[in-house]
C-alpha cells in the first residue's frame, strides 16, 4: 500500500510541474465558467425563467471535456517510462507490477478529482442564486457519476499507456476508445437486433451515466459497471508490465 501511495503522490505532484496539466485544468474551468456565466445571466435578466439544472450547465460539458482531457492526462504515465528506460528502475525496485499500475492510476485520479472538486464552486454559487436552492442530492449523484466515469477512463488510459512507448500513440488510442465508449457505441446499439442491442447498451459508458446518476438515480448495476472497467483496465496494465519482462 505504501508503494502505491509513493507512486501516486509523485504522479500527482508532477502534474503541477507540467504545463499540459495546467492547460487542461485552465481550459476546463474556463469553458465551464463561461457556460455558467451565460446561463446565470439569462436567469438574472429573464426573471421568470426556470433555473438551469446543474446537470445541463456543469456535468454535461464537464463529462464531454473529460472524454478528451483524460487521455492527455494518462498518455505519458507508463509509455514515457517505457521510452526513457526509467521503467527499469521501477521494475528493479521492490514494487510489484500491479502496485505500479494502481499507483499511476491513483495519481491521475487524484488530479482529475482535484479539477472536479474545483467545479463544485458552480453549483454552490447557483444554490445561493436561485430560490429555494438547487436539488442537492441530484447534484451529488451527478458528481458521483462524473467521478466514476473518470476513474474508468483513467484506468483504460493507464492500460493503453502501458502498451506503448509513444505518448502520442497512447493519446490517440485512448481518445478513440473513449469516443467509442461514450458516444459511438450507441449506433450499433440502435441498429442491431434486440438481444445484441442489450449487450451494446450494457457497454455504453454514456448510458450508464446519462440515464441514471445524471438524473439522480444511483443503481448498483452502474456502480458495478464502472468499477469493473477500472479493475479490467488495471489488470491489463499489470499484465502488460509483467509480459514486457519476458520479452
Amino acid at each position: 500500500m505504501k508503494n502505491i501511495w509513493t507512486i501516486a503522490s509523485r504522479e500527482y505532484k508532477l502534474y503541477f510541474n507540467t504545463p499540459i496539466a495546467y492547460v487542461i485544468m485552465g481550459f476546463i474551468l474556463l469553458v465551464l465558467g463561461l457556460i455558467f456565466t451565460i446561463a446565470v445571466n439569462d436567469v438574472a435578466l429573464g426573471g421568470g425563467q426556470s433555473p438551469p439544472s446543474v446537470n445541463a450547465i456543469v456535468h454535461g460539458p464537464l463529462a464531454f471535456m473529460l472524454v478528451f482531457a483524460i487521455p492527455a492526462i494518462t498518455m505519458r504515465l507508463i509509455s514515457e517510462e517505457n521510452r526513457e528506460g526509467t521503467i527499469e528502475l521501477l521494475q528493479t525496485a521492490p514494487v510489484r507490477d500491479w502496485e505500479l499500475a494502481v499507483g499511476k492510476w491513483l495519481g491521475a485520479t487524484l488530479f482529475i478529482g482535484t479539477i472536479i472538486l474545483i467545479t463544485l464552486v458552480f453549483p454552490i454559487i447557483l444554490n445561493n442564486l436561485v430560490e429555494p436552492g438547487i436539488d442537492q442530492l441530484m447534484m451529488l449523484s451527478g458528481y458521483l457519476g462524473i467521478l466514476l466515469v473518470s476513474m474508468a477512463f483513467i484506468a483504460l488510459g493507464v492500460a493503453i499507456s502501458s502498451l506503448f512507448t509513444s505518448t502520442v500513440a497512447a493519446f490517440f488510442t485512448a481518445m478513440g476508445i473513449n469516443l467509442v465508449l461514450w458516444w459511438l457505441i450507441a449506433i450499433p446499439a440502435q441498429l442491431s437486433s434486440p438481444q445484441f442491442a442489450a449487450i451494446w447498451r450494457y457497454l455504453d459508458f454514456g448510458g450508464h451515466y446519462n440515464n441514471s446518476m445524471a438524473r439522480g438515480v444511483i443503481e448498483l448495476i452502474d456502480l458495478v459497471y464502472f468499477l469493473s472497467v477500472v479493475v479490467v483496465g488495471l489488470l491489463v496494465a499489470s499484465v502488460s508490465l509483467e509480459t514486457k519482462r519476458w520479452r
Binding site: K2, N3, T6, I7, R10, L14, N17, T18, R83, E84, G85, T86, E88, L89, L90, Q91, T92, A93, P94, V95, R96, F164, T165, S166, K244, R245, W246, R247
Partner: protein
C-alpha cells in the same frame, strides 16, 4: 552473495547468454568484461529481477531471482546502462522517491549522507535535466546506494565520465566493495584490472575466462616481450639480438627500436644488454612489454574468427 547456475536467456530465436555459471562472495568486486552485445546487460537484468531467465537459476543474497524477486530487489542496488533518470524531478525529490520505494527508514538523513558521498551537495535542488553526464552518473550511483544494498550491480558505471570523475567513481566503488558485493560491467580493460578482485570475461554469451586480473595476466604471459632502443642507426641490431641464447625472435619495429621475444622462464635481458654494448650500439632503453589484459582479452576472444557482435539491441530494449 551471488550464485548463478546454467543461466540461459533467449530473445525470441536469439540466444543472448548460454549456460553461464559463476558466483561472487561478500566483499568482492567482480568485473564483467566483454565487448558490446556479449550478454553483460542481460545477465545483470536477470540478477536484478528485471527479467526472468529462459533457463537456469540465479540467487542473490540467498534469494531466488524469479521466485523471491521482491526480496532480491530489496537487497540489490542497480545502476542500469545509460542511467535512466526522471528529468522533470529535482535531485532531492528523485532520491527521496527512490528511497521511499525501497522503504528506507530515516530517508532524509540517508539522502544527505549519500549526496555527500557522491559529492552533489550543491545541486540538490537542481532539476535532473540540467545536470551534466558525470553528475547524472553520480545521481544514478546515489540511487543505487540509497537503501544500503548488500549487493551492488553497476552496468558500465564509468562510461562517459571525464578522467577525474572516473577516478572518483572508482574510488567510491572500491570503498563500497570492502563490505558489500559489487558486480560491474565494463569494456575498459584497465578499469577491470585496477578495481576488480576477479574478472569474468564474457563473449557471445559464454564465459571464456575467469580469474584474478594478476593470474589472467601471468597465465598468458609465459614468454616475455621486450623492446630495446638505441641511439642512431639500428642496422644489424636485430641479428645481434636474435643471436643471443634464449631469444626466440627479434625484429625492427621503428627507427632505433627492436622488439624481441624470449623463451619462458628465463630472463635473458642482461645477456642482451651486454651483447648490444659489446657491438658498440648506444643503448638508451630496454623495457618489458608485459601482456596487458587487453592482449589477453584479444587473445581469448580471437578464437572465434567472426568479428565481435556489435549489434546493440541485444542489450537494449528497443521501441516496438
Amino acid at each position: 552473495m551471488i550464485q548463478v547456475e546454467g543461466l540461459t536467456k533467449d530473445y525470441g530465436p536469439r540466444r543472448a547468454i548460454e549456460d553461464l555459471s559463476f558466483s561472487a562472495q561478500k566483499g568482492e568486486i567482480v568485473g564483467f568484461l566483454g565487448p558490446n552485445g556479449a550478454g553483460k546487460t542481460t545477465t545483470m537484468r536477470i540478477l536484478t529481477g528485471f527479467m526472468p531467465p529462459t533457463n537456469g537459476r540465479a540467487s542473490v543474497a540467498g534469494y531466488d531471482v524469479v521466485d523471491e524477486s521482491i526480496e532480491v530487489r530489496r537487497r540489490v542496488g542497480y545502476l542500469p546502462e545509460n542511467v535512466p533518470l526522471y528529468d522533470d524531478m529535482t535531485v532531492w525529490d528523485y532520491l527521496k522517491y527512490m528511497a521511499d520505494l525501497h522503504n528506507v527508514e530515516d530517508a532524509e538523513d540517508r539522502i544527505y549522507d549519500i549526496i555527500e558521498v557522491v559529492g552533489m551537495e550543491e545541486r540538490t535542488d537542481s532539476y535532473i535535466s540540467s545536470l551534466s553526464k558525470g553528475m547524472r552518473q553520480r545521481i544514478g550511483l546515489a540511487q543505487a546506494l540509497v537503501h544500503e544494498p548488500e549487493v551492488l550491480i553497476l552496468d558500465e558505471p564509468t562510461i562517459g565520465l571525464d578522467p577525474s570523475q572516473i577516478r572518483g567513481v572508482r574510488n567510491l566503488i572500491q570503498e563500497i566493495g570492502k563490505e558489500r558485493t559489487v558486480m560491474l560491467s565494463t569494456h575498459i580493460l584497465s578499469e577491470a584490472q585496477q578495481i576488480c578482485d576477479r574478472v569474468l570475461i564474457i563473449n557471445k554469451g559464454h564465459i571464456v575466462a575467469e580469474d584474478t586480473p594478476q593470474n589472467l595476466q601471468s597465465r598468458l604471459a609465459g614468454s616475455q616481450r621486450v623492446a630495446i632502443q638505441v641511439a642512431g642507426d639500428e642496422d644489424g641490431l636485430d641479428k645481434v639480438i636474435s643471436g643471443v641464447k634464449g631469444v626466440i625472435s627479434a625484429s625492427v619495429t621503428s627507427a632505433g627500436v627492436v622488439e624481441f621475444e624470449t623463451e619462458a622462464g628465463k630472463d635473458v635481458r642482461p645477456d642482451v644488454a651486454r651483447q648490444v654494448i659489446k657491438k658498440k650500439y648506444d643503448l638508451l632503453e630496454m623495457r618489458p612489454l608485459g601482456m596487458s589484459l587487453e592482449d589477453i582479452f584479444l587473445e581469448i576472444t580471437r578464437e572465434d574468427p567472426a568479428p565481435p557482435d556489435l549489434d546493440d539491441d541485444f542489450e537494449g530494449e528497443e521501441a516496438e
